[in-house]
Symmetry: C2
Subunit: 579 residues, 2 copies
């Protein structure tokens, strides 16, 4: 804030000059005291400047309505929406979210600091605040090739930017416990710069939590039980209660929340898909769930506003009080958190679920993603079974990131060819490949998957956590090759092919992860993709694209695949497909 | 913390190396969740590194005892103790206070930035943390001459020092409301530097609170009613509940405190005299009062620890949790807050109310204070009553900073001399003078005071809020002159003279405000002073030195005196003693 604004705001607060906007006689949600009261709210220069008796150049009647701070999503990877920040924020605003803390971990794995810079660039000049945490673990593990490796020396210069709040989810527990040099550099420098360090503490023991908090890693969004929640807060952590599209922890965690510990709790989405977001909402829905669970509306709102602001030192965000930025919601009703309108920096941006100024102009993005894969031939996909006795198969567990490790006796399968494995439709054994796509190393990891139930054809995607190589699964090698070649042609995305023909594709031309198109177009594409996959696999009870995208994540049990090969995540070693 | 310590602490937390100290099986006060639980507390390198199952090189049995964070006094002028930081901290530690946020406003009024620097210097190399707020209003008003004028350009360079947390109590409301240039510079620069700005909001209207909070002045220790407390917190302020030697607000304010708003409350003393401190305690006693008022011990402790830490961004203070500095108290019992021992940076510093290492060495202080007053003669004290009809008299209200403005008909007094006013013992009308003592301007303000009831003699002191000129009151001019000359001789302090003889003096050789001697010596001196004043004024029901010290504060109603003359604080103008 410049000095002129500072002085003008004081003058408006003391009524020496009229305020820009006054909301009259509205019930104010007091997040500091978990209560509410009726008063006027005075706004000037995009800031709240008074709670009392005011008159303004514009006045709005707030009678029987409620005002609460704009919501803050405490942790998200918005690449999961498939949209750029410039498009994502529109859906967010409609749902009352005015600020978000994002970790551009996915795009960073593909294009490194250029990806971070792109996300920063695309988050500017819009009526919404994106804050950034720097991806701490790129690549996530050493067992795969990503598009980028980020050392502390790459991250450190970003701290000069005041939109960079700290270091994102430290997921490499082993590196912390072993005081690995680069990891220590990253977390120690974040600490020295007085930055926030986010944790990622799935299944941590008490000692692990002690180690993280000793290292000033002080948030966790991977808390799964209410007992864990209590233990984390005891040690000074903020717990981000996650309610994403796939991972949903709110119903369990809310059991541990009360007025006694609410100050250490925030709400977050982590990964929210755009179709789910549009249909069911995000942090706004989490608030509704909290209220339905018996928490007071004021405390529920507190967790999505002032607590997150304090956790991330946003200072002027998260309350309806003088000096705070005028990001706020007008609610028609409190108990079902029905949003009537949304204001950002004192300006009306959403009314009746519609954006006021829907900027439909497209932003030119110069960054071009190449899918750097070799010319594929059937030889690339050959899995020799000669003299082998069994197959190591990845079995999908529907709607779960975990997989089962199956060992199938080859002789039991009655295979037509005894030299190479071909997809075996009757037994739902499909061929799976992951092709390094960043640096054209020619690395191809092969495997066999059970559970996708394709009758024919193939599906491929460049979303393959966390290194985001090209993953493809199919009923025959020709369709797999076609799917890969088509993905290369469109520059990344998701495709379905069948019988030598491309059925449908969703282009994700930015890093093979997100697109510069509109949310509504992407939602339509996703619908058509799902309709097409239903032809190839009519009995699916889960999202096959999403499932495919996580078959490559080598930090989740029990068996996964990377561009370096089939990986036993329990014993932390590569294994052969056939033994 | 250097990197070596950072790494070692992680290693200790994960039990790769043994911890320095472990408190076994102790009940931990969880200030984050307003609860308590039993566990071990592991300490290494002066930091807490784990809450769980630990073993250490030293182990202490915590069975049936409690551990809570070291207390933090949120706001104090320690000059009121008459001691230097080097001596003050010893009493503080014994009472469980391990950190304090001080405003060296008094010494700064006398010797400006040299005074601030001296306080910073004297607060180093001791097992205690002094944090500083920069005096924002030196002088407090334009109606007096202080020893120093502090502009923003004088204060600004201090922000480089990480012990400087912000700008101290902004008491010049008018300057803020009128956007006075130097005041705006001070508060705007503090805001720009992301520093805390303390308020001083006695009797403020709602609009005044709106203006202060709009200007990011976000604390108040002058809150007097529980209704005011609610209104301040609604607007985002922290309220510091004050319980000092004179000003006591806790009993009233606690009525507005609950688990719903406790996060925005801190405890402070403001002004605590050393005799009172030693006898009754300080923040420790405030906690006991909170508990007796029905607040839970955990929430009471929270207000004196983590809340103050968060308010002033101390980061690693105020909780028993990994990563926090190991400043803590072991309590024998929780409900009467009985302190068994005190630890600072993981080291035992107090046991059974005794300091472990009482550093009795004296610190040489090179700074010499001159009492710069003219050679006084009886002429200086002459108050002409020739052709006047009445006297404007300051009447003391016992145990109150306010005074009454009396108008006394001269003819009713039956005076012996009709040219000049002399003290009139029968009517308890004593002569009062305030002599500018910083720059030898020769300024002398004269007045008449009723209420001190001296039968003879005079008392004088260099503690005279806030400009701290030399104030003297007496039954005859000769004793007044002697008192002033003696004060000059000893370089500042408090003195009592009678009948041409000095009865007793307390030397305050540093700025005429504090002394480099021990607390016990000062307490003894104060006792002797009080015994002597009882000879001259046997019927006093209040502290005459303290009362005298506040007769010069021109921001308190109704009539006060400065070196520029008698001052009507209601109409903000100087008035004649006789009219």
């Amino acid at each position: 804030m410049n000095k002129k604004t500072y002085i003008e705001n004081i003058q408006a607060s003391i009524k020496n000059i009229p305020c820009d906007l006054v909301i009259k006689n509205i019930t104010i949600i007091d997040v500091f005291q978990n209560s509410s009261f009726v008063s006027d709210v005075a706004i000037h220069n995009g800031y709240i400047v008074g709670i009392g008796n005011y008159s303004g150049q514009n006045e709005i009647d707030g009678n029987k309505k409620y005002i609460c701070p704009g919501l803050i999503d405490a942790h998200a990877h918005i690449e999961s929406s498939l949209l750029t920040p410039k498009e994502y924020y529109k859906t967010a605003l409609i749902h009352g979210i005015t600020s978000i803390i994002i970790d551009p971990h996915e795009i960073a794995n593909v294009i490194g600091i250029d990806g971070i810079n792109l996300m920063i660039e695309l988050s500017q000049n819009i009526p919404f605040d994106f804050y950034f945490m720097l991806p701490s673990c790129v690549p996530a593990t050493e067992f795969e090739n990503s598009g980028s490796i980020l050392k502390n020396s790459d991250l450190y210069p970003f701290y000069k930017n005041n939109k960079i709040l700290g270091l994102a989810e430290v997921m490499d527990l082993r590196a912390v416990l072993e005081c690995n040099e680069d990891m220590i550099d990253k977390i120690y420098d974040a600490y020295l710069n007085n930055k926030i360090i986010d944790g990622h503490c799935a299944g941590f023991s008490i000692d692990h939590i002690n180690a993280y908090t000793t290292a000033y890693i002080k948030t966790d969004h991977e808390c799964h039980t209410h007992e864990e929640l209590i233990e984390r807060i005891r040690r000074g952590m903020y717990v981000h209660i996650r309610e994403g599209t796939v991972a949903k922890n709110l119903r369990e965690l809310i059991k541990g929340v009360s007025i006694h510990n609410s100050r250490k709790l925030c709400l977050c989405t982590d990964d929210k898909h755009i179709d789910d977001f549009v249909k069911y909402g995000s942090i706004d829905n989490s608030i509704r769930m909290c209220i339905r669970s018996g928490l007071s509306p004021e405390t529920s709102i507190q967790m999505a506003t002032i607590n997150t602001s304090e956790c991330y030192k946003l200072n002027k965000k998260g309350a309806i009080a003088p000096g705070y930025i005028a990001d706020f919601l007008i609610l028609d009703s409190l108990h079902d958190f029905k949003i009537s309108s949304v204001y950002k920096n004192g300006n009306l941006v959403v009314k009746d679920n519609e954006l006021i100024n829907n900027d439909d102009s497209t932003t030119k993005i110069s960054l071009k993603t190449q899918i750097n894969i070799p010319n594929l031939a059937e030889d690339h996909f050959k899995i020799s079974i000669k003299n082998k006795s069994f197959l190591n198969v990845i079995e999908i567990i529907p709607n779960n990131l975990k997989t089962n490790h199956l060992k199938i006796d080859i002789s039991s399968l009655n295979l037509k060819c005894n030299e190479y494995f071909n997809a075996h439709i009757e037994n739902d054994l499909l061929k799976l490949a992951i092709i390094e796509r960043h640096n054209n190393t020619g690395n191809i990891g092969l495997g066999i998957v059970k559970g996708l139930m394709l009758n024919s054809g193939a599906i491929a995607t460049t979303i393959a956590h966390d290194s985001h190589n090209l993953i493809v699964c199919g009923a025959n090698d020709q369709d797999m090759i076609l799917a890969c070649n088509h993905i290369k042609e469109i520059g990344g995305g998701i495709t379905i092919v069948d019988n030598g023909k491309v059925l449908y594709s969703l282009r994700l031309e930015i890093g093979g992860l997100i697109t510069n198109r509109k949310a509504s177009d992407v939602i339509k594409d996703l619908e058509i993709l799902h309709n097409n996959i239903n032809i190839l696999s009519p009995n699916l009870t889960f999202n096959p694209f999403l499932t495919l995208s996580f078959l490559s994540l080598p930090v989740i049990p029990n068996i996964k695949i990377t561009d370096k090969g089939l990986f036993d995540t329990i014993n932390f070693k590569f294994i052969d497909v056939c033994e």
